[in-house]
Amino acid sequence: MVSDFKTLKKAAKNADTTLPKVKIALLGDTATQFLATAIKGAAQQNGFYADLFEAEFNQVEQQIFDPESDLHKFQPQFTVIFQSTHKYLTSFESMSSCDKPNAAQKRIDFLKEAKGLLNSKLIICNYPEIDDGVFGQYGNKTAQSFIYQNRKINYLLMEFAEQYSDVFICDLSSLQNKFGRDFCFDSSVYTSTEMVLSVDFVPYVSQRIVDITAAVLGKFKKCLIMDLDNTLWGGVIGDDGIENIKLGHGLGIGKAFTELQLWIKQLKERGIILAVCSKNNEETAKEPFVKHPEMVLKLSDIAVFTANWDTKVENIMNIQQILNIAFDSMVFIDDNPFERNIVRENINGISVPELPEDPADYLEFLYSENLFETASFSSGDKDRTKQYQVEAERITERKKFADEGGFLKSLNMVSEVQGFTKFLTPRIAQLTQRSNQFNLRTIRYTEEDIARLENSDNHKCFSFTLEDRFGDNGMICVIVLEKRNELKDLFIDTWLMSCRVLKRGMENFTLNTIVNYAKSTGFKTITGEYIPTLKNSMVKDHYPKLGFAPVEGKENLWVLDVDSYQEKQVFIKEK
């Protein structure tokens, strides 16, 4: 839920400067004071401190093109460009009829140029439509009309953003579609202040901007946990039986549940992990998934299925253990307000949307919550469910072995070690953005950064996959080494691993690989650093555990002597 402007203003005023800082620059061609305040407030509510630079009114071009400008001095992580439809319309109206058909393209050309001059990530607000009615509906048929150029620029912006992994679109246009122009724009306020966003609309815009920054900084949802009765289907399976639950196309409420399931299936295809948490007998709960002809979701779509009579809090904790992801990356949906409250109160960080009472309203409500913002997408994301299902199997298997070595040997693990090839770039960038727990320095890289590192003479990069007899985990470990030639030292710039492969000896295998590289290229020492964050305390003692010695006088800095290194025993073979 989005707070009103007054609440955001208060949050901005009392912003907690000890929260993780995010530097945001805001450039607008209309008055942006309200938006600036609201961004600060929304950041605070989302657990960040926004260090915000607001450019003087209508200075978008000057700030970008002048290398000495305050914007460049500020060195933002994110630059938000908010150019209004109003100003676009005004400049369109002063164009000659031969320039008008190129109005949208001209703005994109400007953005392309701007992109080259900015080192920060770029968030571009798109253009809520203004239909000036000059051509009537014929405007849809001619590039001379403003509505044509308005829709065209929004399309071109998507194409533009698609080309760069560090350009994002804040979709004001879809927000206006949802709320309507009369809500989003207040003409008397505009006339007296040059503000194009109404006071009631500003909070939604600021939230969407903060959603993007949060996703880029690694805070986003990875998992959807679902109740069953009256959430995924109408009725109670245990009481009503499989033939009487409401589900399926045609008239009636069954349609609402079917369409909800279709949406959830799309989320799964995008890479959201699905889990079930239901108070039911397991067999009864699974029956519709197996037998009901109208069920869209199948058991194979669900990574973890918990149906029993324990509390939902216990079961969600259990799901968390298996998936090994943070609670604040989980969303829980349940029709029952009581269960929602218990979960919300007992599990810190989990998102529990306040579903409307009528299941017919579920979908429209969930669409508008923008729960599943992401800063990247790769085609491998859709296989994530399979990997987590396999992990649940492994956990069961481990219990059968008395000693760790026996279990690890039985897994027949194989790892493929490679550099950062072009094919792997998106996945590597994504891992640097997503991994929070097993991440020693939490340095985030874009796809461009990854390509640059691979071609750098001063760096050596490794990526590791891990496969075992249960299945392929895909790429699970990324290493970036910085060559400090004058010291004959390799500095570990990045060491991150997927938590799915903990306790498999992957750390040892990785270190063996690094040391072998050091030996073959004449490096004498390897230095590792731990930079603490709110989420990575699990690797606090990573380096000492691997035999690194503390660097005197330096906290969290560790060094390993290459020549005296004893190769560690591993149960992983190199592919």
Binding site: D186, S188, T191, T193, S198
Partner: protein, 80 residues
Amino acid sequence: MEKSEILSQVTEIFRDVLDNEEIVLADTTTANDIEEWDSLSHIQLIVAIEKDFKIKFTSAEILSWKNVGEMIDNISKKLA
């Protein structure tokens, strides 16, 4: 609605929007008298008043008032 009633309702809105329970308004009060009343919060106040009284000011009206009294007169006229 009596002007005194409007004044007390507007006072409540000022206290709420400006987050200051000690605000007391009189007809002669101007933005200079209240610290939190700046050009930004002025817009918030207008929007809150419009919502509360279910009225809509014209853009000329928004910029025309010299003090609270004139604002109250304007609201009163719209409610009549």
